[in-house]
């Protein structure tokens, strides 16, 4: 058919000329951007609103059609249309009322096996394992530091991203899109907040995600080695040892004192993998992803 032939030609033309306009063609990228995101309204409201709007538009379309054709509306048909409209609206309202599941609900119900793994401590990886992945060129390691900003500024592992708990659902959109050889590690001072964040991200269908066992406190305990030479020269950045009484600092708090908020400038932020023996029980099992897409 001529039309299909035209389509083919049109696509061929586009394919071979898009390079020249690629700046425009790649502009205004907003990612996975839904109407709910744009309007800041809950999903149910948007759905119900669209249903009602569509019904009104259909009615208008009928009016226009009849006006243009000089036909009268068919009484019989009207009954069916009204029934259909009411049924659809009712459904939409029910959907709005039930609401979409929260990340934690998703975690609890979609991923029961994960809760088991969490309890068996299969998803908490030790600092040496994390370090080995940071050094590994075949795997991209994304570290998510969910502590308070103050703690993050005092010290964080090099290349760790600071994320607030509220941003997690939105962040999950970005994380899900990353290639399948990406490893995500969540960390807090101990494990409490990291575990919460982990549950949320698992519930949002992020794969290959693990918790840093013992958190930053454990990391520092492992890698907070002061270089004796530098200490004697006075160029070392020294830490105070951990607070002797754990109860005084409470759960999931940073148990180290830092003279200055240097973030990742401390040597412990970037331990040299070659200086340490990798002695750990490996727990990470990277999963690959199935393709999805559109046309």
């Amino acid at each position: 058919m001529f039309f299909v032939a035209g389509l083919t030609v049109g696509i061929a033309i586009f394919s071979n000329t898009v390079d020249r306009i690629s700046d425009f063609w790649n502009s205004s990228y907003m990612g996975r951007y839904t109407l709910m995101d744009w309007l800041h309204l809950p999903t149910g409201v948007v759905v119900a609103g669209i249903v009602i709007g569509a019904i009104l538009l259909f009615w208008g379309a009928e009016v226009i059609e009849n006006a243009m054709n000089g036909t009268k509306p068919d009484k019989q048909q009207i009954k069916y249309k009204v029934i259909g409209a009411v049924a659809l609206s009712a459904l939409a309202l029910i959907v709005a009322f039930i609401g979409q599941p929260t990340p934690l609900e998703r975690y609890q119900k979609f991923f029961p096996e994960k809760a088991q793994q969490l309890a068996n401590r299969e998803v908490q990886i030790e600092p040496p394992e994390l370090l080995s992945y940071i050094a590994n060129d075949h795997v991209r390691t994304v570290m998510l530091d969910v502590r308070d900003e103050n703690d993050y500024n005092l010290f964080h592992i090099k290349d760790a991203r600071h994320v607030s708990m509220d941003d997690l659902p939105k962040l999950s959109n970005e994380l899900r899109k990353m290639p399948s050889n990406t490893l995500f590690v969540v960390m807090s001072n101990d494990e409490a907040r990291a575990t919460e964040a982990w549950k949320i991200l698992v519930g949002e269908s992020v794969d290959n995600i693990y918790i840093l066992e013992g958190g930053i406190n454990n990391w520092l305990a492992t890698y907070n080695i002061v270089n004796e030479e530098e200490r004697l020269k006075g160029t070392a950045i020294a830490f105070a040892p951990p607070e002797p009484i754990v109860a005084a600092t409470g759960p999931d708090t940073l148990r180290y004192k830092f003279p200055a908020a240097l973030g990742d400038q401390y040597p412990a932020a970037e331990p040299n993998p070659e200086e340490y023996e990798f002695d750990f029980t490996p727990k990470v099992k990277l999963k690959t992803k199935a393709p999805a897409g559109g046309g």
């Binding site: 001529f2 035209g6 389509l7 696509i11 061929a12 996975r32 109407l35 995101d37 559109g294």
Partner: protein
């Protein structure tokens, strides 16, 4: 478009709302089963890429857009969209056959010749093909599927399609009315 008229009268078309609703169920099934919606232009894109790759692999490999469809070892026809397009054609054909709507005719308005209509169909096809890939999807992939899952880009696209068509309908009315 199709074979000669048979003796039976063609059946009337279904109620548009009913057809639409059923289409909606199919859309849902696609998302529910596979996570993706429908699509058509992506398939044609791949056929084009495959053909171009066959005749001139270098032109494909030096084109950053076509690379991802047919560059190097990538097999453009190894994609679900291609199979969906085969299904679409089959489905349309079978439906037309069952409803005795299979006929070779050229749909057009009363004021132009068949020849003109063919030319316009071809031209319209070129424009639509170009536009579909520009928008990264046609009315089924970008419009219906993206619209169902409430993508902002898809809704903007749909509005633009209707706006564009209504804007020029007046100027091309000789083709149809």
């Amino acid at each position: 478009m199709t074979v000669s008229a048979k003796k039976k009268k063609p059946a009337p078309y279904a109620n548009p709302y009913a057809a639409g609703a059923l289409l909606g169920v199919i859309l849902f099934s696609a998302f529910f089963l596979t996570g993706s919606g429908l699509g058509a232009s992506g398939a044609l894109q791949r056929y084009v890429a495959a053909i171009q790759d066959f005749f001139s692999p270098t032109s494909v490999n030096t084109n950053s857009y076509l690379l991802k469809y047919a560059g190097g070892d990538v097999e453009p026809l190894d994609n679900w969209l291609v199979y969906m397009s085969i299904g679409i054609v089959l489905g349309g054909f079978v439906s037309a056959w069952i409803h005795h709507r299979l006929s070779f005719s050229t749909g057009k308005g009363p004021h132009i010749s068949v020849r003109t209509r063919w030319v316009m169909a071809f031209l319209g096809g070129i424009i639509m093909g170009y536009g579909a890939r520009f928008a990264r999807g046609c009315t089924s992939g970008q419009g219906l599927s993206g619209g169902t899952v409430l993508s902002v880009g898809s809704w903007a696209f749909l509005l633009a399609v209707f706006a564009g068509a209504y804007a020029v309908a007046y100027f091309f009315r000789r083709l149809w009315i």
